[in-house]
Symmetry: C2
């Protein structure tokens, strides 16, 4: 089978043998759609020192299972959460299994990803996709879940002013999801053509250059994917306000030191936010609460995976989907 493999700094489409049958408890999945994520691009730049097959956004079909009792999954169309957990460490025991000490993470940490003809994932990670959600929607469950995680982590009083900072893929999803809050939500970005999507959705939006950094926002969600996003967020948020930090920036590509003293002086709360609840995201897609189709910039074949990663880096490009 073909797999898009990161070997240190080089990415290539390799020919690999799939395992004859998946290990016990796991499913062999043939992806139908795959999504390129900013994290994939960071991994290519050295983030997590990852090697192996890339990819963690997918919708696919279960081809085989490792245990007879999981047979009912065969033929099902599924999405799957990316953290594969031990169930036994202190984190798993206290209900924080997404932070399992011994986890592997699909296409990110010690587990080959989904940019391949076939890949495996534990059956317990799978969620069946209802017929009402087609492949083009279902492939967005993983990033949309990451947006719902912000909603889950925030507690909102009054009717706060919320700024989503960054008009990339994740920012555009977060902005849509956060309109579920009893809040005044705006997206602030640098790209007029991306902000136009907000107009279509009825979401307030502004260009960064047109916005005063006045420390008047109750909540700022940093989806910039840039190391200086936090600095801008600290200038935007009010004293005692909250910054939700979605940006992971590769340790191999640090920018100058960030002055964190505003956090202390203004008693700002920063909440790190990572993966989120798949069921909520799938429900939102089934209910057509979120527009994801407008985010699809390009469709490419797995065979063109190396080019697809390059394409995803281009300015103005939102989601690049891969097809088998």
């Amino acid at each position: 089978m073909r797999a898009l493999v990161l070997d240190g700094q080089n990415i290539s489409l390799d020919e690999r043998h799939p395992e004859a049958s998946p290990p016990p408890g796991e499913a062999l999945i043939r992806p139908r759609r795959m999504g390129v994520c900013a994290t994939d691009l960071e991994l290519c730049q050295g983030y997590m020192n990852m090697t192996g097959t890339l990819g963690h956004e997918f919708v696919g079909e279960v081809m085989a299972v490792g245990r007879a009792k999981d047979k009912a999954w065969i033929g099902k169309r599924v999405v799957g959460s990316i953290n594969c957990v031990c169930g036994q460490c202190d984190m798993c025991q206290r209900g924080l299994s997404e932070h399992c000490r011994d986890r592997t993470v699909l296409g990110i940490l010690n587990r080959d990803g989904c940019f391949a003809d076939l890949f495996t994932l534990p059956v317990q990670n799978l969620l069946e996709v209802p017929d009402s959600v087609d492949d083009d929607h279902a492939v967005f469950v993983e990033p949309l879940a990451a947006a719902y995680q912000v909603l889950r982590q925030l507690t909102v009083e009054g009717r706060p002013f919320v700024t989503v900072l960054g008009d990339g893929r994740l920012g555009l999803l977060c902005a849509q999801v956060l309109t579920e809050l009893n809040a005044t939500v705006r997206l602030v970005g640098k790209h007029p053509e991306k902000l136009e999507l907000c107009e279509k959705w009825g979401v307030k939006n502004r260009l960064l250059n047109d916005v005063g950094l006045r420390g008047d926002q109750d909540i700022v969600v940093d989806c910039t994917g840039r190391a200086d996003g936090l600095t801008t967020a600290m200038q935007m948020v009010r004293p005692k306000g909250t910054i939700v930090l979605k940006t992971t920036v590769s340790g191999n590509h640090p920018i100058g030191p960030v002055d964190l003293s505003p956090l202390v002086i203004n008693e700002i709360q920063v909440i790190g936010s990572r993966c989120g609840p798949f069921p909520e995201a799938l429900d939102a897609l089934a209910a057509q609460k979120v527009d994801v189709l407008s985010l699809i910039s390009r469709r490419m074949k797995l065979t063109d995976g190396v080019a697809a990663l390059q394409t995803a880096k281009q300015p103005g490009v939102l989601k690049v989907l891969l097809e088998p």
Copy 2:
């Protein structure tokens, strides 16, 4: 009158004329004891670009007031909160006056401090010191209030493991205060002679080199005063745990870039923490809940203020008090 003045990078004992009478709403105060704080040392290194008289920790006597209706304050022994606020901006209006947009801060921001024979502070900032709290205790109200602020900001469930990181003045105060929590509290530092104080108080304590950075603490309070404190705190705290950040580090003295990706990956919450509630601190001193006398390393005269700031920087030195 004499005043310890920071003029750009130079500190000197200057002769200055006090104002003949304090402005309306303010009191003229003669300090009886003054405390040297880590913030004073940072200011000397360029933090906040401060110029003027240093000093914000004091207990003193009210000598005069600017308004007849405040006459009752004359002769009172007082401490005073350091943020002087406008009462009218959006922060003041919403009950966050410690974050007043137009505030001045005693000895820190646009207001001469207390390292002088006389200084002024708004009457509304003052708190009378009861006879049961002597000068040596009362001078600790400001830093002790900063420790109580941590208690106020934390919400605690179960019986969490709490590490106070840093065995300086603030760390030693925080460790004592946090024992009020239903929690297992330990102080982690680098100086055996400071950790001995914890032994005396019955507070658990460990040397940093003897502690595994295992990501198992529910709460870490960074009182290191060092830019790398946050990095250590991120290694100590468990996923979904909380870091309280007390350290402000001068933007003029940055160290290498901090990799903040653990905040996101481990969904850590960081809470900036600054000044705190004076009444709680004064009550704690009156109730003898906190030992501050053991923190006094040296007593020096205001005349020797320049030397006192040097002394406060020496390893092993805790609180340096100034007397008139």
